[in-house]
Symmetry: C2
Subunit: 374 residues, 2 copies
């Protein structure tokens, strides 16, 4: 149970330990961009950069089930590092899933090949909220904390490590609906019909998420992203009433930690101001909103992350390059931009295109932000 | 091939014919609202108001395949009228599907129970665009024109009849991808990689849609809606370059007809200004954008349609009523609002809730727009 498995796979970084690495990583492009400081080139990482588009990931998946990979720290660490060996990415993101923390509340989670996650005992009645075992334990994430420790050791003073959690709303969607995809009509109907029970459940989830994020910081995560994958299903009025206070509570738990917070949702073009009100040093944009328009709406006080259409990585190099440059131009070289896709890397993406994108972002933006010394 | 089947089912309206009916219908709430004239109560119709949530629709579907119902004018007319017999709706919308017009271009269409539409010969190579049979015929919609004639006769001077078409982009998505759902990555990659062929294909589709819409007006449609169901998959920059000119061309074909045009897309919170630039007297909003915010963005010169979350119709009456009133309040009683859902009625919706909503919208809004005489 050490990092030897990973090291044996050829990771070359010296094991300098988190203390030294932390000091060096604080100088990184990503962390500087989160603080809206000038950088030598625009930092880039990609949601789902560790995933099925990589042959080395698929090779591991042939031997291990998805949840097994998530729950085995050495495997999760290995997958976390895979894309960093290929590409000059400016961050690693811990390989994990948003749902295992629900196991800390007594939800039973299964993943079936091809059909995605299932909650075997979804919450369907208001009375069930009181019965939730609001454990103070970490059985839903101890493996991820250990993976973070291993990955930090391997990364040394290199790329910073991003930790993450599902947001309370997105966790509630799965916990009530019992499965993913679609419009989460059962979960959203529960929200509408049972507002008291909803808020009580979201309180529980916000505390859970807050504890989980704080534990990731303690384990070595240097940036955190709150994924509210399904917030884009909500009207602005429902988001404000039923989601915003709980996302704010979850983020508030780590606001004093010194670790930058990225707040991301898809389909969020109607929600940006409310998401920002809920919290985050960085707002993650999907590709259906103009980056310049988001800057106008949110002001200069926030870092923006995004927002290339993931399908662009399936296109030919010429089309890919034109679109990546368009995103860089819309960011206008101002401090406070992290390049990313507007959603995760699609499984059918070619790693060659990922390399092309990472290199282009760095080369095109060199000097465009005025250099690291401002 | 007459309306006898429908009439035998108990439609009571006198068969006054389109001429008289047209004059009377011009006074209707819906048509007045489209022109931003004051109305006695806010008009309401619902996308997919004719559909699976109605037992009488399901009873017909047990005996007839979906495409058979679309292509048999008497059945399409009957389904069109079903919700009007139950609810005080302010419009009928012709029962049709957006895909059959593609058959006019040589695409072969099939619907399979449970899996949705399939195009058996999708367009995959740029060279295939030139080979499209840009027929000037109406084999992809003659049945719908006949259904419109039948429905107009049955509706008499009552509720106006809405015709519709898929927008060029949404038709291109299906024609290239070959099937529905998901992210239409194949179609959008084609758009990125083959811009010339894309524009050539969209030109063909815009002419097709323009002819189809004009034919619906000639057959008796009194309002038209352009459904760009999948436009919300696009970045604003891609929409502007690859979609806007073609939607504009399609709408321009009927702009002088005197028939109000509704332009609708889902997930369009980032695209509203561009959709309005493309055309439409009415912009149809989905529920993920604030109606007041849309009014601020688009100005007073446009009528807005929407935008209750369809899941609201699954909720208990109290929650449904509060949310419906919130939409009415955000429309602030100003002329130029058509109440609708933000997307189609969900199949699991109770007809009782639809009745509740229709009645509430009328009762709540009586007098709020200052009466029909302003």
């Amino acid at each position: 149970m050490t990092a030897d498995i990973v090291a044996a796979d050829g990771i070359a970084q010296p094991d300098t330990g988190p203390a030294v690495a932390g000091a060096e990583a604080a100088q990184s492009r990503l962390l500087r961009a989160c603080r809206r400081e000038p950088v030598d080139a625009t930092p880039i990482w990609l949601m789902r950069q560790a995933g099925r588009y990589l042959p080395e990931y698929r090779a591991l998946r042939e031997r291990h089930a998805f949840l097994e990979m998530v729950k085995t720290p050495e495997l999760a660490c290995e997958v976390t590092l895979q894309p960093l060996r290929r590409f000059e990415l400016d961050a690693a993101i811990i390989f994990a899933d948003i749902l295992p923390p629900l196991e800390s509340l007594g939800f039973e989670l299964e993943f079936h090949e091809g059909s995605g996650p299932l909650i075997l005992n979804p919450l369907r009645r208001a009375a069930d909220v009181a019965a939730l075992s609001a454990s103070e334990g970490d059985e839903g994430w101890s493996f991820t904390l250990q993976a973070i420790r291993l990955a930090r050791r391997e990364l040394g003073g290199g790329a910073p490590l991003i930790g993450f959690s599902g947001a309370p709303f997105t966790l509630a969607c799965y916990a009530i609906q019992g499965s993913g995809g679609g419009d989460f009509a059962v979960a959203r109907r529960f929200m509408m019909n049972e507002p008291r029970a909803w808020h009580a459940f979201m309180d529980v989830l916000a505390r859970l998420v807050g504890r989980y994020l704080a534990a990731q910081v303690a384990a070595g995560a240097q940036v955190l992203q709150l994924f509210d994958s399904w917030a884009g299903l909500l009207s602005p009025a429902d988001y404000r009433e039923f989601v915003l206070p709980h996302s704010r509570a979850a983020l508030a738990a780590v606001e004093g930690s010194g670790v930058p917070l990225i707040h991301f949702a898809t389909g969020s073009a109607g929600l940006l101001e409310l998401m920002y009100e809920a919290g985050g040093d960085v707002i993650g944009l999907d590709w259906r909103v103009d980056l310049e328009a988001a800057r106008r709406r949110l002001g200069e006080g926030v870092c923006l992350q995004g927002n290339l259409d993931p399908v662009t990585l399936l296109a030919e190099p010429k089309a890919l390059e034109a679109r990546a440059v368009a995103v860089l131009k819309s960011a206008a070289g101002r401090p406070g931009h992290i390049f990313n896709l507007g959603h995760g890397v699609l499984p059918q993406t070619s790693p060659d295109n990922v390399r092309r994108l990472v290199d282009l972002v760095h080369e095109w933006s060199v000097g465009s932000q005025g250099g690291a010394d401002g």
